[in-house]
C-alpha cells in the first residue's frame, strides 16, 4: 500500500467504527442488519476516493480493454481491503485470534512432523503394518545371513580342499621324483652282490634281475652305487662289456634295492629265479644277499628335457 493513500481513505471512511458500539447492544438480527448495512455503506462510500487513488497508484495494472464495471468491482474489493487494513473491526480481531490459533497449530504440527519421527503420530494399523514389514525384512535378512555363512563355509572348505590337493600333489611329486631318480632316497632294502668270474652275466640276466626286483616291490634300484635304474633305463652290451644307460658296469655287480627286504630276497631266491640262474652251470656265479635296515641311494638319474612334449594345461577339474 502506498503511504500517501492512507490519509484519504481514513478520512473517507469513519462510519464503521462509529457503528460498532451501537450494533453490539442490539440483538442478533439487528446486528446482522447493521453489518450488512455497514458493508453496503463501505461499498458505496469508498468508491470515490479510492477510484482516484487506485488510478493514480497503478495505471499500468488496468488493461485498456477492461470494462468499466470490472474496473469498478476490482476497485471496490481493493478499496475494501485497504479500508479494513486501516480500520480494523471486530471481525478482524476475531480473524486475528483464529489465525493466531491456526498459526500455533500449524507451527506445532510442523514441529511434530519434523522433530518427532514419523511413528509418533502414526495410527495403530500403520504401526502394525510397519512392524510386519520390519519383521519380514529381518526374516529376509536372516535368510541372507544364513546363505552367506553357507557360502563362506563352502569357500573355506574349498580352500581346505585345495590345500589338501596341493599337499597331495607335493607328496606325489616326491614319490615320482624318487621313481624318476631325480632325488636321493633311503630306506630299508637289500644289497645283492653278484660275483661273476666268467663274465657271463649279460644284459638279459641283469634286466631279469631288475624286473624281478620290481615285481617284488622294489622302489629304488641302484647298480654299483653309481647307476640309478629308472623307467627309461636300458641294458645292453658292447665290445667293452655290459652297459647300463651307456655306462660301463664293472664286475662284480652290486645291486642296491630299496623295498620290503624279505620279499625282495625271496623274489631273488625262489627256485628258477635270478639266484638260481646266476649260480647255475651256465653262468657259474655267486650271489650274496644282505638285508639292510638302511640303504642309501644317492646316485641320480639326469632326466633329459623333453624335446617335443610339453605339459598340457589340465582340464579344469571340479572341486
Amino acid at each position: 500500500m502506498p503511504d500517501e493513500v492512507r490519509p484519504d481513505v481514513r478520512a473517507a471512511e469513519p462510519s464503521p467504527r462509529r457503528q460498532r458500539p451501537r450494533s453490539r447492544s442490539h440483538n442478533a438480527a439487528s446486528r446482522r442488519v447493521s453489518s450488512l448495512r455497514r458493508s453496503q455503506r463501505r461499498l458505496a462510500g469508498e468508491e470515490h476516493p479510492r477510484a482516484v487513488t487506485v488510478d493514480e497508484a497503478r495505471p499500468a495494472a488496468q488493461p485498456a480493454g477492461r470494462t468499466s464495471e470490472a474496473a469498478d468491482a476490482a476497485r471496490s474489493t481493493r478499496a475494501r481491503l485497504r479500508a479494513s487494513l486501516l480500520h480494523p473491526g471486530r471481525g478482524q480481531i476475531l480473524a486475528a485470534i483464529i489465525l493466531f490459533i491456526v498459526g500455533v497449530a500449524g507451527a506445532m504440527q510442523i514441529h511434530v512432523n519434523t522433530a518427532d519421527d514419523a511413528y509418533a503420530s502414526a495410527r495403530r494399523e500403520d504401526l502394525i503394518q510397519l512392524l510386519d514389514g520390519l519383521s519380514a525384512e529381518s526374516r529376509r535378512l536372516e535368510g541372507e545371513i544364513a546363505q552367506l555363512e553357507q557360502t563362506r563355509s563352502n569357500l573355506q572348505s574349498g580352500a581346505d580342499t585345495q590345500r589338501v590337493a596341493r599337499s597331495e600333489a607335493e607328496r606325489h611329486l616326491t614319490e615320482l621324483s624318487i621313481l624318476a631318480g631325480t632325488s636321493p632316497a633311503a630306506g630299508q632294502g637289500i644289497r645283492m652282490r653278484i660275483a661273476d668270474p666268467k663274465a657271463a652275466v649279460d644284459a638279459r640276466v641283469l634286466l631279469d634281475a631288475v624286473e624281478e626286483m620290481r615285481d617284488a616291490g622294489a622302489e629304488v634300484i641302484e647298480v654299483n652305487n653309481t647307476i640309478r635304474v629308472v623307467g627309461s633305463t636300458w641294458f645292453g652290451s658292447d665290445a667293452r662289456g655290459l652297459l647300463i644307460d651307456g655306462k660301463l658296469v664293472s664286475r662284480p655287480i652290486t645291486l642296491e634295492v630299496i623295498g620290503e627286504p624279505h620279499s625282495l630276497e625271496e623274489a631273488a631266491r625262489f627256485r628258477g629265479g635270478i639266484v638260481s640262474e646266476i649260480t647255475g652251470p651256465r653262468i657259474g656265479g655267486q650271489v650274496q644277499i644282505e638285508q639292510e635296515d638302511r640303504v642309501v641311494i644317492e646316485s641320480l638319474h639326469t632326466s633329459r628335457e623333453n624335446q617335443y612334449a610339453r605339459p598340457a594345461p589340465s582340464p579344469s577339474t571340479p572341486r
Partner: protein, 110 residues
Amino acid sequence: MIPLVGLLAGIVLGIVLEPSIPQVLQPYLPIAIVAAMDALFGAFRAYLEGTFTDRVFVVSFISNVLIASAIVYVGDQIGVGSQLATGVVVVLGIRIFTNAAAIRRALFHA
C-alpha cells in the same frame, strides 16, 4: 493487518514455545489445520464478496475443525481412519481451491 499480525504471532509463538498437544489429539491436528484453512479461505472469499459476517466466520471455523476431527475420530474407531482422513482432506482441498478461485476472481478479475 491485525489478522496477519495474529497469524505471524501464532507462528512465532508456536516455534519459540514449542507447545505440545496431548497424544490423543495428535492424529487430528493436521485434519483440523486443513479444515481451518478451508474456513479461512471461505471467510476471505466472503469478505471480498461483501458477505462476511464475523459470527458466521467463527461458527464455521469451529464447526469445520470439529466436524473434520470428528469424522476422522469416528473413522479411527471403526477402522477406516486413514481412508476417511484422505477423504476429508480431498474434500477440504477441493473447497480450498474453489474459494481460492473465487478470491482470485474477486481480487484480479481473472
